[in-house]
Amino acid sequence: MSSASPVDPSAELSLLSPEFLARLEQLELVTRKIFRGRMKGERRSKRKGQSVEFADFRNYVAGDDLRFIDWNTYARLDRMFLKMFLEEEDLHFYMLLDTSASMDFGAPSKLDYAKRVAAALGFIGLTHSDRIRVETFSQPAGQRGPVWRGRASLWRLLDYLNKLEPGGATDLATGVRNFCLRNPGKGILVIVSDLLDKAGYERALRLLVAQQMDVYVIQILAAEELKPDLKGDLQLVDSEDDDRAELTISAPLLKRYEQTLAAFVAGVRDYCTRRGMTHLLASTEQPFEQLITGYLRQRGLVR
């Protein structure tokens, strides 16, 4: 659907600079899991299949295609091994963005930051003919997000991202469940959110475990959330549910907040690590380019 909408060329400059795009062209998305695409792609799949590039051997079991038995090995070892080849296939790359009201904070706002991350990763995927799908947590259950493939779709991707507006409350669990219902296949999933859901993040992430996706959780927090610069007697109003907290900000309380935040982030990271997910904390103060070319590269999402 997005492919039909007119594209605003100026959107490119608001999210990605041309110099950065040139650097991104040299990168590609990788996954630690073996996925099977629906179409043959230019990427070497970890799926062993009918291809020209040898990958591995495995024991023959009854029912295997006899054509792939390595007879040379059988002659030497008197055991039958199946010769496996890497199959080149395309990659399903999903991005799930949090567009709740709480993302509209910081300079730049957390949502803007998330959009740039999505645009950069999307561009990398598009350059390598991966299937790129971008969805949001607030997307209705029956409405699937647009899919793009090929470099020519970059403008549409950027246009789509630019049109995302913050609003509503964070409901991680519902958002993830809807996403899983819409996208039963495997692939790489990058969740960009602040994870500040009063119901907790655990249930939402647990749903993804069964999905067997290669999940990257990029938690974005604004600088004022990491180091709040608050003073005096305040009534803090929650931007999403209008919840109020009356506080007298004091040095011990600020210290206590920072401890709570550190414990929260450590809890998310621990939860993700135990379930094979990759967690990355990003501050809106942190240069966005550094996140893509530095941290995500280190974590193995791009190379």
Binding site: S102, L196, D197, A222, E224, Q235, D243, L253, Y257
Partner: protein
Amino acid sequence: MWPEWTSMLSWWQWTILALVPPAIVALYFLKLKRQPLVVPSTYLWHRAIEDLHVNSFWQRLRRSILLLLQLLLVALVILALFSPSWRGTQLVGDRFIFLIDNSASMSATDVAPSRLEEAKRQVLALVEQMKSTDVALVISFADTPHLVQPFTSNRQELRESVAAIRPTQQTTSLSGALRLAAGLANPGGGTDSEATDAPKPALAQVLIFSDGKFPDITDSALSGLATTFIPIGGRSAHNLAVSAFQVTRQEENAERLQAFARIENFGAERAQASIGLYLNGELIDADQIDLAADGEGGVEFNLEDLASADLELRIETADDLAADNRAWSPLDPPRRARVLCMTSGDQPLELALRTERARELAEVTVQPPSYLETAEYRSRAAGGEYDLMIYDRCAPREMPQANTWWIGRLPPAPGWSAAEKVDVPQLIDLERTHPLMQFVEMGEVLFREGAPLTAPPGAVSLIDSDRGPLLMIAPREAYQDVVTGFELMGGERIGTNWPLRPSFPVFVLNLLEYLGGRAEDAASLAVRPGQVVSLRVNTAGNQVEVVSPSGGRTKVRRNSRNTFDFAGTAEQGLYKVFAGEQLVRRFAVNLFDAAESDIRSRPDDAIRIGQTKVEGSTGPQPVRQSGWRFLLLAALAVLLVEWYIYNRRVYL
């Protein structure tokens, strides 16, 4: 002591000030309306304050503690504006002399615990007010002054010195203390040249803490001192006192004794008291006495003969001064005088010296006139071994250290001379009031011849004839010389018929009694505290030991007048004199001072020093000690605490 409050503002200013606390409360509640601030999520904030909720009490307290501190601050400022003040005293000057009366009357308990303690308390309170540069000295005084502490600015030394002052049982004399204070007030003294070069020291303030039981000071030189009299004690005090106590033998029956005592009531109300007589510490008799206001009365006790005893009289009824409720009297066997008579033979004289009564009174040694030339005589005469020496028609070269009686000769002392002998001088007058002439009836006495006498100044003529005095007594240093201008025997003829008349042995007995030291002994039997007692003791040694009532022992050496002078009579009670191990004398020290016993303070609470009347004052300089500075300092402290709590948010 409650503070006095003085308003520093007018009513409308107070009205504005009264609105401040409600305004603070209102502002506090306005401040509680917190400023809303939209944040991405309150999720983490809620979690952060979850564990702080256990401290919610402190959080609430912190909220209100700032309000309370602000209200306290305003309250302190308001109190300061009321200018609270206390009545206090302030020392004016920088050099102080504290005179503290510790005489017997200062032991009165009409001011609890005693007047002396009250005086010490007031002095200590003034010492606390002294500035660090001030100096003070302390003198305690009773009958004599005592420098307790020289000038010092060390308060601890002053405190200890004042605390060390103890009550005495002595009479009061302020003049000596003032003289000492005047001497110490300007220790430099200085010559005129020094006085012109150096700046004159500041006039010392003399503060007298006393009940005023002393005579006014007549020495006008002392009136130049800057003196303040602080009277201690009240006028309503009541006191009974023993003002006299004496034990004598009955004339008609020498084996019976009589004890007389006089009791005085120094109070404005009629008083009854029970009087007890104690022998060696045990009650042997008692009596009741009823005394009018300011009245006096006597009690009398009859006793069996007692060779030697300690008699004590006690007023058993409690009053404000205990020191004068007891009196003592020693009962000693009479001491025999030591008499040396040098005569070439005079039967009537020797007979008179050997009567039974005379032997009781004296131990008489008779020697011929040649004895005067011996070394033994010279030694004894110079050593004061005898109480009385009788020279019958003989004379030594030097006057002896003893009382003397010269018969028919003149003493080798200046001032004595005799006229030519006259025949049959007619006796015209007797000095009957003199102790020597008591009961001496000379009506039938005739003189064949006599030499009218001229005596040194101070002499008294005991027998006057128509030609001049025939018997005179004159003082010589500490002794008395009696000179008879006629001879008793007169060689071949009897010079007078006096030795044949009954009055002669009476005169000799008077002589033995008076010049033998008995009169002196009687006077010294009771002395006042602090007085010197002169003791005549029949002992060969030159040293005796005096034991005080509390057991203190003092060694006393014989002086040139053949007496032992003892000055340590500060304590009331019976003193015992020992020669070696033998008890040889006892004497009593009794207060017997109406001025000390009348403990009611002076009617006008003022003393007179020279021509200056010093009004009694309650303290040096009454001043109002204002407390607003302390309140403002406290307000400042509260402000700092509030600032700290607000900025550091200590409790949250």
